[in-house]
Amino acid sequence: MITFAVLAVVLVIGALGVVLLRQPVHAALSLVGTLLTLAVVFVTLEAHFLAAIQVIVYGGAIMVLFLFVIMLLNLQEEATKTRAAYRWIAYVVGVVAAAAIATGALLDPRQAPDALAVSDALRGGSPELIAQVLFGEFMLAFQLVGVLLLTAMVGAVALVQRQAETPGAR
């Protein structure tokens, strides 16, 4: 419980850093820290496979690409261009939404499953269990997501290629 409390504090600080830090690279780094802490939370729940995948996919691949783009475009600290009124509206909406979520969570009659039950259900976090759910119960959804990602990729390539395909464009 103490471990979770410490991790939760680190997670929240990291998440706040993503939003509040002005320098894009610092914000991205804060996100990396948050994702790695989330992996540690998975480890404390004995979900080892999930933790490893979290680090490999989010920490190792997606965030490296994020940072790559940030550095390639050489993004600098963003001058606040938004109008003051908008900012106040954004603050109010944000605070109200956060309060609503917190109240909803606190008023929910369902008990959070305790860590023992969770680690029991995960059975040591073996990949087999996740594979059974993913490739059995949710097979159709899994394949549809695959098609969706493929569509997005083909679309992105098509957008980039359009220029080069017209004769004489090079």
Partner: protein
């Protein structure tokens, strides 16, 4: 399971051994390169130059520790620490011998069910060290070096992951110790062709992952000074060097564990010395030494790839070859066995 203090002592020892090995790998590398290039290499300090690493260590500690004034201070200091921390942490999951063979203790730090993924995950975080170091220096060439390294590592991680897939499919487990015990080559001769291809693809991707020649574009000195290392000096520079060599050693141990029976020795010696193939550590170190020699040998032999060649090789050839090996392994398991 070992008691916690034993694990702690083992982890400490492993770090010390890896760093000591790093110091002497630099000497071995320079001596071997000298031999391959018909010159002497460092041979003045002590017999065979054996005191050279100590002199180098003292020198790099006492050099002025420069921090570029335009640098992003925090990230600049953090980056080399990320590099060395994750480089050392990755080795912890690699088993060094059968259970209880190290004076009654287990010759590994962690015996994880997902040991293979652990090594991949931790090494993939290590790239942040190079990447952030180059950015935080706030200078042209380091930035180019770090952009190169991130593009390169993402490209070659695909080949790495796909060539590991053959081993995972054959062994049916992600536990490195179980993979060694199963011995992927003994399952069926039908699996040898895809395994040989996967082994080759894995070695090539691993060399690219540890940024060694011919894939050392992030620090190509003829083009971009020293890449991400340009603005680093003294102990921070030394930390990067340590990380590079420790990563090489991890790669060598990882290749040996996945494809070459890891900590197991040759069984044909058993009639003369019973139990020799179960001796801990030495067989793994012997196999690692072969790959360390290969890395140095390649450095002395091959010229560096051009950037577009590097990308084409990774995406057009290595990726397809590794994918083909994985598909072939799957087909053999499904239809032949």
């Amino acid at each position: 399971m070992d008691p916690l203090w034993v694990t702690f002592v083992k982890a400490l020892l492993l770090c010390l051994v890896l760093l000591g090995a790093f110091a002497y790998m630099t000497l071995i590398e320079r001596r071997l390169l000298g031999r391959m290039q018909h010159r002497h290499g460092p041979n003045r300090l002590g017999p065979l130059g054996l005191l050279q690493p100590i002199a180098d260590a003292l020198k790099s500690v006492f050099k002025e520790d420069i921090t570029v004034s335009a640098a992003d201070r925090f990230v600049y200091v953090l980056a080399p620490m990320i590099s060395i921390t994750f480089a050392l942490a990755a080795f912890g999951a690699i088993p060094g011998g059968p259970a209880g063979s190290l004076f009654g203790w287990n010759p590994w730090i962690m015996d994880l069910d997902i040991g293979l993924l652990y090594v991949l995950a931790v090494t993939s975080i290590g790239v942040y060290g190079i990447f952030l170091g180059g950015w935080a220096s706030n200078s042209k060439y380091p930035l180019l070096g770090s952009l190169r390294s991130s593009a390169q590592i993402i490209s070659y991680e695909l080949g790495l992951g796909l060539s590991v897939l053959s081993v995972i499919m054959i062994a049916g487990t992600l536990n490195l110790r179980a993979i060694v015990e199963i011995n992927v080559w003994s399952v069926s001769p039908w699996l040898w062709p895809p395994l040989i291809v996967a082994f080759g693809a894995f070695v090539i991707s691993a060399i690219a992952e540890v940024n060694r020649t011919p894939f050392d574009l992030p620090e190509a000195e003829q083009e971009i000074v020293a890449g991400y290392l340009t603005e680093y000096s003294s102990i921070k520079w030394a930390l990067y060097q340590m990380a590079e060599y420790v990563n090489m050693m991890t790669a060598a141990a990882f290749i040996s564990t996945l494809f070459l029976g890891g900590y197991k020795g040759p069984t044909f010696l058993e009639p003369w010395i019973p139990g020799i193939s179960d001796w801990p550590i030495i067989w793994l170190v012997a196999k690692m030494a072969i790959f360390m020699f290969l890395f140095i040998w390649l450095r002395a032999t091959l010229p560096r790839l051009r950037y577009d060649q590097l990308m084409r090789f990774g995406w057009v050839y290595l990726f397809e070859i590794a994918l083909g090996a994985a598909l072939l392994t799957g087909a053999v398991i499904a239809f032949v066995l």
